[in-house]
């Protein structure tokens, strides 16, 4: 049975991909993120829009295709996410 991922977990998977697993220095394409984060196009589009508007991701237009890179606030969010995931884990809970 597939493991249920919370919305927060999906966001952290996207941010972690844009931090640790980039195709090149310009960032990751939507297609690449869909494959890595295992999420539908319509859903990832909404999430990417939110993450860019919140300043957690930086969007660059590279030869007609949009690419995404993690920003400094995004890195800090991801660090906080990992710390508090461990905190909630102690209570047997997921954040």
């Amino acid at each position: 049975m597939a493991e249920y991922r919370t919305h927060m977990k999906i966001i952290s998977d996207i941010l972690a991909t844009t931090r640790d697993d980039l195709q090149d220095e310009d960032g990751a394409t939507v297609t690449y993120l869909i494959r890595k984060a295992n999420i539908s196009h319509s859903r990832i589009s909404r999430i990417l829009k939110t993450l860019v508007s919140q300043g957690l991701l930086e969007k660059t237009d590279n030869q007609g295709s949009n690419k995404y890179k993690i920003s400094q606030p995004g890195r800090e969010f991801l660090q906080a996410y990992y710390t508090f995931t461990n905190f909630a884990d102690n209570f047997g809970l997921n954040i």
Binding site: N90, F91, G92, I95
Partner: protein, 213 residues
């Protein structure tokens, strides 16, 4: 002796609850997680409940000097604590039974219990026992999934608090026995056990929300 233990228990409960509550709140402000919001409500309630009872003892000892704490203060403190225990159990029930429900994943349903003061106190002690036992069992089951050693401490802590609540409630049957003292010692142990894993969370690396600095 009982008075001293009661004060230690309530102070430890207040401080441990407050520490975990503040930590959960920092987590909530940094991540926006509803789980951390529920933990914040849970531990701030637990802390406030212990604080109310401690204040009751202090007022009785230094101002009223009647020899026993006002019953309604003790009952009020226990009710507030029960709300906290409810939110711990509630978080587990969401994780286990409603992982995808956006309705239950929101703040939650505030428990409303309407029912003489002694009776209410014992009703709430028994509700606390059930909630704590449920929380302890669910937390232990989570250990088998995540294998995080901190989970064992939290499960043990909730289990000891449940046992303490049970003995506290049972001491109603044998009021002059050692049961109430044992209940307080066990609850202090439970609170310390709850705090052990939380004290290891490396908060120093987190850049706190600007409003909190």
């Amino acid at each position: 002796m009982e008075f001293l233990l009661e004060n230690i228990l309530n102070l430890v409960g207040f401080l441990v609850g407050l520490s975990i509550g503040v930590m959960s709140f920092i987590g909530f402000r940094n991540t926006g997680s509803p789980t951390l919001f529920r933990l914040t409500i849970a531990f701030i309630s637990i802390s406030l409940g212990f604080f109310v009872i401690w204040t009751g003892y202090m007022v009785e000892d230094f101002v009223i000097k009647s020899g026993s704490i006002e019953r309604w203060i003790q009952t009020l403190g226990i009710i507030i604590q029960t709300i906290g225990y409810f939110f711990i159990a509630f978080s587990h029930s969401i994780k286990s039974f409603f992982p995808k429900s956006s309705y239950f994943r929101s703040v939650g349903i505030l428990p409303l219990f309407l029912v003489s003061s002694v009776q209410i106190e014992h009703v709430f002690r028994s509700i606390s026992f059930i909630l704590l036992a449920y929380g302890a069992i669910e937390t232990m089951l989570s250990y088998f999934e995540n294998r995080n050693k901190g989970t064992i401490w939290v499960s043990l802590g909730l289990g000891l608090l449940a046992l303490g609540e049970f003995l506290g409630w049972y001491s109603f049957v044998f009021p002059e026995s050692i049961l109430y003292t044992a209940s307080m010692i066990i609850k202090i142990g439970g609170l310390i056990s709850l705090f052990i894993p939380v004290s290891k969370v490396p908060l120093t690396k987190i850049k706190f929300d600007k409003d909190l600095e």
